[in-house]
Amino acid sequence: MAADPKDTPVTDSAGLLEASGLVKHFGPVVALRSADLRVRGGEIHALMGANGAGKSTLVKILTGALTADAGTITLGGRTRSFHTTSEARKAGLVCVYQDPSLLPDLTVLQNLKLTATPLSTFKRYLVELGLEGFDLQTMPRELARPTLSLLDLARALAIEPQLLLLDEITASLPADLTVRVFNVARQLRAEGRSVIFISHRLAEVSALCDRATVLRDGKTVGVVEPAQGGEERIVKLMLGPVADLVAAEAASPTAPATGAVAVEVRNLKAGTLNDVTFTLRFGEVLGVAALEGQGQQELFDCLAGVRRPEAGQIVVGGKARTFRHPADAIRAGMVLIPADRLQALLRQRSVRENIALPLVSRFSRWGPINPRREKRQVEKAVKRLQIDTRVQSEVRRLSGGNQQKVGIARWLVGGFQTLLCFDPTRGIDIGTKRQIYGLVKELAANGSAVLLFTSELPEIQLACNRVMVLFGGNLVDEMPAAEADEQALLRAAHGLPAEADVEREA
């Protein structure tokens, strides 16, 4: 495919990595048809693509975890073919993945020794990532996920790679830590080294990357400069012909709703969550914005009956409820879509069984199943969510986006009044994201209530009528979606007073 003729200013324009015509089959499934990727020295290069476009396969081939069926890879002018990740590592090519890779039951120091990581450089990068004074005797098991990601990054940096791959590392990072990762990436670029950056967040890509290679259906379909208004072009390339369709579904933010009260939360307290009071109405999507660990997890868990609150009341339909089990919450019409879709899915079971699970969950439904009625209901939900059912015998074979859709389809069949979405689009491509937000809005328009937490602040405006901001376990701000741009939310989420608030009170 034709590369963009315009060159971005880079310190060294010689190609560091050149991969061309890569092909990879898994049995009858073609993961890569013809993937090209050219990364210059001193460049931060984004690798973009919807779920299932072949990004992971390409990364695995580059790092030696998989071997390509056809195609060539040259690194620093030499043709290379890595058969193991340690070969790639020796050649100066390291990848940091979304999921932490430190062994949980060895101390951090023992982990480093295991991978022969130079300690002095590791410590230097720890400081640059804002982890100065970190105790190397800590067990990874006791650490929070964002910290583990930073440790992984420092470990990769410690061997001073020529080419660093960051595979969705920012997906589990709060905004403040993402900034630190960006700074380190820019520093590598300044030193003439290169970074391949993979993220579903377009804003991150346009802020950080010099160029972006876009994959679709296992093929490189274009190379774009995201900084110069290339975002829309990236989306169009990623989605292909369906781009306009999904763009139409994600409309502008809607006005605050005035339906009847669905849920009233009074002085709720649980773990980090400290005395939160709010009202959720039918017909609205209420957004929750917060940095990592501000009590949002506890809030959703209490509402879904996964966890018992220490104090406070949850009033549904005018009655104070005590949820001892998620079944109690479900009976009261409250259902949860968790961030980790595999937490909610039966991986070995079929799409149909996964979606129909709420139909048999109660003791009174243990008897014979009416197959025709079940099939009809499941098919309706599958159609409404446009779930790709080519591989429906086992849910684990579906792509991440389709898995999440199955998790949502379950409740279209099971029935609910209030949908609790906890970061439902984590690690999902932009096309599916827009579909999910489109559905959420449609459900609210049809009279349901939706409480939606998302770790990606710009998405709040895509779906919500109203937003509340949690900070330190307290509700610190509430605003209509129209005012909730990323800047306003970031200020509030960091516990700073909003400019608009100051004006309003004056």
Partner: protein, 319 residues
């Protein structure tokens, strides 16, 4: 892997039961080669008669393994049920049968409470309960009974009589039971939940399933089926001693594994287990025919289970 190899693997994955049936036929063919004329209606009748108690015992085991557990007390329960039935039969055969079955349900319920409510590992819970059952049975036999009890005629007929010359009576119990389990696992809410709980307990909780109810009912069902197997076995061998079913513990697990049920839970069928039980019975018949010493039998038995288990992980699960 070439496309053709992939297609073959697919075919095997989707129809693994056919492969098992082919194995069964091959074993029968082997017998026919070793001793021409040996495979006849009478032989088939014998195989079915001996496979029935194992098949029913492995039915309970299948249910438990599908939920990701294992029940190591099935053989002890079967033995206890048979012994109590036989020792109580003098006071009324119906009373004996009902008491025997009740013992099975009771032990199953205790297993279920341990696993589902107190979250004891199924392996530990059922192993310990097996010991408790065997110990209690010994105490009972010394306290209540002077001599080894005889098996009532109706149970003997149930376990070893045939109708129309060749059809074992026990088949009239086993076949409907098998049909009920195969259909029930596939298309009842309870069956669905067994797979769901075995696949991902946390997910079922989020979907509003009270997992302890499912597990409790399931272990009780396993206890009941074990007791039924014990009664049938007592009829087949026409005796009810204190170690009646003990040799069937490992075969009950083996039949389940050979039948393709994942030991990690979440998948499997009873039809597979039925074929597994038949394969084990025919294998035993081959080895007996070859006059293989018991030690060699055990070696072959173990080796075949390992081979099949390895085949399943390599060929049948894609990851």
């Amino acid at each position: 892997m070439s496309t053709r190899a992939v297609t073959t693997v697919r075919l095997v994955q989707q129809h693994s039961i056919l492969v098992l049936i082919a194995l069964l036929v091959a074993l029968a063919g082997l017998i026919e080669i070793i001793r021409p004329g040996a495979v006849n209606a009478n032989w088939v009748s014998n195989i079915l008669e001996f496979a029935a108690p194992l098949g029913i015992l492995a039915a309970g085991q299948t249910l438990v393994v599908i939920t990701g557990g294992i029940d190591l007390s099935v053989a002890n329960v079967a033995t206890a049920a048979a012994y109590i039935m036989a020792s109580q039969a003098p006071y009324g055969v119906t009373r004996g049968i009902v008491l025997g079955l009740l013992v099975g349900v009771a032990v199953g319920l205790v297993n279920g409470v341990g696993v589902a409510v107190f979250r004891v590992q199924p392996l530990i819970m059922t192993l310990a309960m097996g010991l408790v059952v065997t110990g209690s049975l010994n105490v009972y036999s010394q306290a209540a009974i002077r001599s080894v009890p005889g098996v009532p005629a109706v149970i003997h007929a149930m376990g070893s009589a045939t109708v129309l010359g060749y059809v074992p009576v026990s088949l009239f119990l086993w076949a409907p039971l098998a049909a009920l389990l195969i259909v029930g696992l596939r298309s009842t809410g309870f069956g669905r939940l067994l797979y769901a709980v075995g696949d991902n307990l946390e997910a079922t909780r989020l979907a509003g399933v009270r997992g302890w109810q499912v597990l409790l009912a399931n272990y009780a069902a396993c206890g009941f089926l074990s007791a039924v197997a014990g009664l049938v076995l007592a009829g087949t061998v026409n005796a009810a001693d204190l170690s009646l079913a003990n040799i069937l513990l490992l075969p009950s697990v083996a039949a389940v594994v050979i039948g393709g049920t994942s030991i990690f839970g979440g998948s499997g069928t009873y039809s597979g287990t039925v074929v597994g039980a038949l394969i084990l019975t025919v294998l035993n018949s081959v080895l007996t025919l070859l006059d293989v010493p018991d030690a060699v039998k055990q070696i072959l038995y173990g080796a075949i289970i390992v081979l099949l288990a390895a085949a399943y992980t390599r060929v049948l699960s894609p990851e």
